[in-house]
Symmetry: C2
DNA sequence: TTGGATTATAAGTATATACATAAAAACCTG
DNA sequence: CAGGTTTTTATGTATATACTTATAATCCAA
């Protein structure tokens, strides 16, 4: 650093961002390469690299070897959202957490679940329906299928003491998961379990998690009315 | 790891992950510091740094200067979700996109919006209700408030040609945003606009975006029944 | 014992250098 | 000119070194 200015990858990032926002570099444009920018900013190429890499990760730049770096055409904003363990979510609000197992059985799942879990036609899975309560009031219930092959020890676990989710998080490492968020209309069953009216709109999370070899579990969480999931950019 | 194996930050990351999953390093445990790990893995400290930083970003490690690095106690899984521009979302499914402005007015907002937008009591905002259609069928409608002070040029923009969201994305840089996801029950108004039944559960996104000086816009998107938002870890 | 200054430490960052790798571009060759 | 080969190039990564910064831990004095 010669001039005396302070340069950091964050400074570079901020300046690149400014130029994108100011439309000096427009969507689709190639921007100067790392070497050129490092000269312009009077810093090392590694510093520029870090800044551009970061912007690329957050979706504002597209980078490809040899091709170069360009401003993303459709800047997809990416938000990171935390997937909470329900217990901590409730306790985090200062409410007391309780849960109860409504159903625990071992049977061959319906075809939709079987397809999602990629299990054989006759394979039995562990089926659990659990209600989670905040200050004694229904908060969310989970309808969960677990592949016992992927989860050694689940048969002997006391899922009354620790919820299936917590037990799994604590005991079974997973590599990936997919989530989908949607809304449903409360039917008779949901209304009963969640103590709400039939016909109310309910927030739903469907989640599957897997490791290298198996799909571990697939769960649908149906939240009581009023639930909101929140995130910031 | 001493011989001549190939080391990269990803290798280091994978090994650290393995140890966490194998419970060699348990939640809450401090792990060796960067210098020690770099000796163990036979690589530079910068390489270890990159690996650990990455794991910290994804929520599996907690790092603090001087204190060290520990395995996160409650490993909050973070998913990144793309915030799509509705038009691209629809066109991406191979459907044709159309939108129509149902209402455009300039008035002082109700108190809830005023609080959210942090505007003065008498300030008028631009209020827009827009319906977005996929293959001619209602897909989502947006109830949007725009702060004209934050958005020079909005008064003269032709929001019939380009939706407000697209116009804003293209013309007004923003720095942050917050999102919340929830479900609601379709009332008369929603049922009419979205051509669905009263009482159906609808997926809702509330979003505000801001820049340094202003809250630019605040919008509620109410999706037609069946909408799902999807993400992977 | 408290509370403020000092010190030691681990992460955070910057840099020059070197090499790896993907892929666009240029170059052949039939 | 098509199809394959080589070259070039921008990003990607690794490393040694050096300095910065937050902060836990320690020390010391009131």
């Amino acid at each position: 650093m010669s001039g005396g200015e302070f340069n950091s990858w964050q400074t570079v990032q901020a300046e690149v961002l400014r130029r994108i926002n100011a439309r000096e570099w427009k969507p689709g444009d190639f921007i100067p390469n790392e070497a050129e920018l490092s000269v312009e900013f009077g810093c090392a190429r590694a510093t520029v690299n870090r800044a551009l890499r970061n912007l690329a990760e957050s979706g504002l730049l597209d980078r490809r070897r040899k091709a170069g770096t360009r401003v993303a055409l459709h800047p997809v904003r990416k938000a990171t959202l935390d997937i909470p363990v329900i217990r901590y979510e409730i306790e985090g609000k200062g409410q007391t957490y309780r849960h109860s197992v409504l159903l625990q059985e071992r049977l061959a799942p319906p075809s939709g679940i079987r397809a999602r879990m990629r299990t054989g036609p006759g394979d039995k899975l562990l089926h659990l329906v659990t209600l989670h309560l905040a200050d004694g009031k229904p908060y969310v219930f989970g309808d969960r299928w677990i592949n016992p092959e992927a989860v050694p020890g689940i048969e002997t676990a006391d899922l009354g003491a620790q919820s299936a989710n917590e037990w799994l998080v604590a005991n079974i490492p997973f590599e990936g998961g997919d989530f989908s968020f949607s809304a449903m209309t409360a039917g008779k069953r949901e209304a009963e379990i969640l103590a709400c009216k039939e016909g109310e709109g309910l927030f739903v999370i469907d989640r599957s998690t897997w490791n290298k070899t198996h799909i571990i579990t697939s769960v649908r969480l149906t939240f009581a009315p009023g639930y909101r999931m929140h995130t910031e950019i």
